[in-house]
């Protein structure tokens, strides 16, 4: 079954397309003018708790640590990180929704929260049940091969090789049902008229090791997560799933240039507070997290993760737009894929 990408994503294209166009010039810039803000009624007078639905060593754990450090550096308010991994983020989300909505509890989460709500509307909607304080990382995906690969060296030769394998070619990713990775791979394989076996690795190390060791033929990943392999010359990107070529990957073609007409899904990580938290406290938290994005320590972290290649910053309104657009997009795709959308 072929998807009608143009029909599905015409609305979304306006939102993300505009953001993408504006992204190159704004990446890394600070858009919060106020360098300080009075604490409303003394809030917070003790440490905040940040629930992180993933382990401390992964991408979410690291961005949570970097943001907590930046907020503390800016405000002198400590943040205790409480990692509750498991269930693709559902354990942490459930724990957060049960925590007091007093502003002292904040949540880190990724786009999985949006796709989970798109598949099952009984799951919390990050744009309605939560208030986004800031989205501090937005990134695109790429397809990588080994740098010393000789069977194919670029996207056209890769597609040709995969087509000749009759479905025996393999690619490593996180292909859980309804995940961003699986959806994009569906777009790519249908648009390129190729079959490729997706191997799901939920941890980064075995996933990257599988490509390094030749256990799989390609890897689907975001550039920040494999930067060390790019810097070391182990991996080579052959396709960027984004509407235009980011500067540091100017020699890598985009999916659109390769004839694939779909709107890219982006990976984003952000920070949230419960919608029932007192509004003056929410305002202070918005300021603290949005301003902390501008801190040198946080910007250095984002730079190290290729997170300033495109604009990684969304304030509350921008985050809500992005989340709502993602939910609509995921929901339409899930229906097309025949998944049980509740």
């Amino acid at each position: 079954m072929k998807l009608n990408f143009k029909k599905q994503f015409s609305t979304l294209a306006l939102v993300t397309g505009f953001a993408a166009t504006a992204s190159m010039s704004l990446a890394g810039e600070c858009r919060v003018a106020e360098a300080s803000m009075d604490k409303p009624g003394g809030f917070p007078d003790r440490a905040l708790t940040m629930i992180v639905p993933y382990g401390p060593g992964g991408g979410s754990g690291q961005v949570a640590a970097a943001m907590a450090e930046a907020v503390t550096g800016l405000t002198d308010v400590s943040i205790n990180r409480d990692h509750k991994p498991g269930g693709s983020g559902t354990v942490g989300m459930t724990a957060y929704m049960a925590a007091p909505a007093d502003g002292y509890n904040v949540l880190e989460h990724i786009d999985d929260a949006s796709s989970a709500h798109a598949l099952d509307s009984s799951r919390p909607n990050p744009a309605e049940d939560l208030i986004p304080l800031v989205v501090s990382q937005v990134t695109f995906s790429q397809i990588y091969i080994r740098s010393n690969e000789t069977r194919y060296t670029d996207w056209p030769s890769f597609v040709e090789w995969v087509q000749a394998q009759n479905g025996k070619a393999t690619i490593a990713n996180v292909s859980k049902e309804g995940s961003m990775e699986r959806v994009i791979m569906k777009f790519i394989t249908e648009a390129s008229d190729m079959q490729i076996q997706q191997i799901s690795f939920d941890k980064g190390a075995p996933r990257y090791g599988a490509l390094l060791g030749g256990q799989v033929d390609a890897l689907f990943e975001q550039p920040g997560d494999v930067r060390k392999f790019l810097d070391a010359g182990n991996f080579k990107p052959i396709l960027t799933v984004f509407n235009e070529r980011p500067g540091v990957f100017s020699d890598v073609p985009t999916h659109r240039e390769m004839g694939m007409d779909f709107e890219p899904l982006l990976r984003f990580r952000g920070f949230y507070v419960h919608k029932d938290a007192p509004s003056d406290r929410v305002d202070w938290l918005k300021w603290a997290f949005q301003r902390a994005y501008c801190e040198d320590s946080y910007q250095a972290f984002n730079d190290s993760k290729f997170m300033n290649v495109i604009d990684s910053y969304r304030d509350t309104a921008g985050a809500i737009d992005m989340i709502n657009a993602a939910i609509v997009q995921y929901r339409d795709v899930y229906k097309e894929m025949g998944l049980d959308v509740k």
């Binding site: 754990g61 690291q62 498991g86 354990v91 859980k176 076996q197 997706q198 060791g213 810097d231």
Partner: protein, 496 residues
């Protein structure tokens, strides 16, 4: 190599502050490793932000030292109170705790200290001499099919551990495998057996399950004995194993070093599988398999040698390829990145001083286990003198805190007590608690790698046998199973 090692040693011990960090790591790792639930990971997570103020070498070295001593630390509580500090110490409790009940706690703890040090030092030496080629070999030759075959092989020997009969041993393993299927499936992310309860989507966590099956069930059993007047306190004994006793197990030590090292070098696997495989191999090669689980020194030696042998090995894919082998090595990646460094091939060329300070620190940390551990042992054994009516509530309280604190979920405390009740009933009926725990832990690893492997071979199981390592492990596992079945029928025919 020796020149680099001496240079690393000089840098490590040439600065008082660096020495202080080293000592802190040694003691902190042992302490946090010994407290169930509050593992070395907890300490590492607490320390992570502070490493930004250290030099890169000091930060990475601190985590490497914690990794070595933390892996050993959980053995003490496993042996004395049947409370493994971490999953990688669970097999140590299989025989360590029965030895305590027999009044041989000193021998068990002494063997754990010595063998942890031997396994760790041997692993560190191999790590120093061959990091890059070993990492390349592992990454090229070991994939999901091989890891599944390794797990299958490990499970195949489990039937003879702890069960009153082989059938009960296998039923125990199958129960563990069944429990391992609770939660999202490892490939498609589909919820299974969570009954709509979102906390169960993550599955049954290892720590509360282990605390329940080991510690809580043991408290219930001892309490029953206490009520019925059959309770006798463990005999207090601080006698360490003699040289001859340890020398008699030299083959088990060498075998466990190889097994632990092999498991440790695999990205994403680490010390837990190493400990179980080390123990399983000890059982497989023993002429007295039925003695395992009843207080056999070789069980403690094999488990503790293997899990510490995995520590140096786990550094190999991390340093050579940037691939962490477990949660703590993943946090080391964060330490590297906080200092604008990336573990991987380039670090050997860009920061050789850092690498050799870490290598030297791991070597000396494993030696420290020997000296600090022996001093610690002479004092900690006195805890056995505490009367049961005081000790039992303390253990239950400690276990409850440990179960809760690892994820902050009340569910985990409930799981712990349910596992304790099930463990109590099953142990009375002759089923194997080690078998259940083995099935639970290896089941999760095995299922994930089996599913990935099947995707890689396009659902053609026969393709598994086109991979030599995979074929050898599966054939060895099947032969072990057949031998086990033969023994079961042979025993039955002898009885009838």
């Amino acid at each position: 190599m020796i020149e680099n090692f001496l240079a690393g040693t000089a840098t490590l011990f040439g600065d008082p502050f660096t020495i202080g960090i080293f000592v802190f790591g040694v003691l902190g790792g042992m302490l946090f490793g010994a407290i169930p639930g509050v593992s070395m990971l907890t300490l590492a997570a607490i320390l992570l932000p502070f490493t930004a103020d250290l030099s890169p070498a000091q930060g990475v070295m601190l985590f490497a030292v914690i990794y070595c001593t933390g892996t050993y630390g959980g053995a003490i509580t496993a042996i004395l109170f049947n409370i493994p500090g971490a999953p990688e110490n669970a097999p140590t409790a299989f025989d360590g705790y029965p030895m305590t009940q027999k009044g041989m706690a000193g021998k068990a703890v002494g063997a754990a200290v010595l063998c942890s040090a031997i396994g760790g030092v041997a692993s560190a030496l191999v790590m120093m001499s061959a990091t890059e080629p070993l990492a390349q070999w592992a990454i090229m030759n070991i994939g999901p099919p091989e890891i599944f075959a390794l797990v299958f092989f490990g499970l195949a020997v489990a039937s003879s551990v702890g069960g009153r009969t082989i059938w009960k041993g296998w039923l125990s393993v199958l129960l563990g495998l069944l429990i391992a299927t609770i939660g999202q499936d490892p490939v498609g992310g589909i919820n299974r057996f969570n009954f709509g309860y979102s906390d169960l989507a993550a599955g049954i966590a290892f720590v509360p399950a282990i605390l329940g099956f080991f510690a809580v069930s043991e408290i219930f059993i001892q309490a029953e004995k206490n009520v019925s007047g059959k309770y006798s306190a463990p005999k207090f004994n601080v006698d360490f194993p003699s040289f001859l006793e340890l020398w008699a197990h030299k083959i088990a030590v060498v075998r466990s070093i190889f097994v632990g090292f092999f498991c440790g070098i695999l990205p994403g696997i680490g010390a837990t599988l190493a400990a179980f495989m080390g123990y399983g191999e000890a059982v497989r090669w023993s002429k007295n398999k039925s003695e395992f689980g009843t207080g056999k020194l070789e069980g403690v030696i094999s488990s503790e040698t293997a899990n510490n042998a995995a520590t140096g090995a786990a550094m190999i894919p991390l340093l050579a390829l940037g691939l962490p082998g477990g949660a703590l090595t993943a946090m080391m990646v964060a330490v590297f990145q906080m200092h604008d460094l990336e573990p991987g091939p380039l670090v050997f060329y860009n920061s050789p001083e850092l690498i050799w300070i870490v290598f030297a620190a791991m070597f000396y940390a494993n030696l420290s286990i020997l000296f600090v551990g022996l001093i610690e042992t002479k004092t900690i054994l006195y805890l056995l003198k505490i009367p049961f009516q005081f000790l039992a509530p303390m253990i239950l309280m400690l276990a409850s805190i440990g179960a809760y604190i690892s994820r902050g979920l009340v569910l985990d405390v409930i799981v712990m007590f349910i596992a304790g009740i099930i463990g109590f009933l099953l142990r009375r009926s002759g089923y194997s608690i080690p078998g259940i725990v083995l099935g639970l832990i290896l089941g999760k690893i095995g299922e994930q790698n089996f599913a990935q492997g099947m995707q890689m071979v396009h659902y053609d199981l026969g393709t598994y046998f086109s991979r030599p390592i995979c074929t050898i492990l599966i054939v060895a596992g099947v032969l072990t199973l057949l031998k086990s079945l033969h023994s079961a029928f042979f025993q039955k025919s002898k009885v009838t």
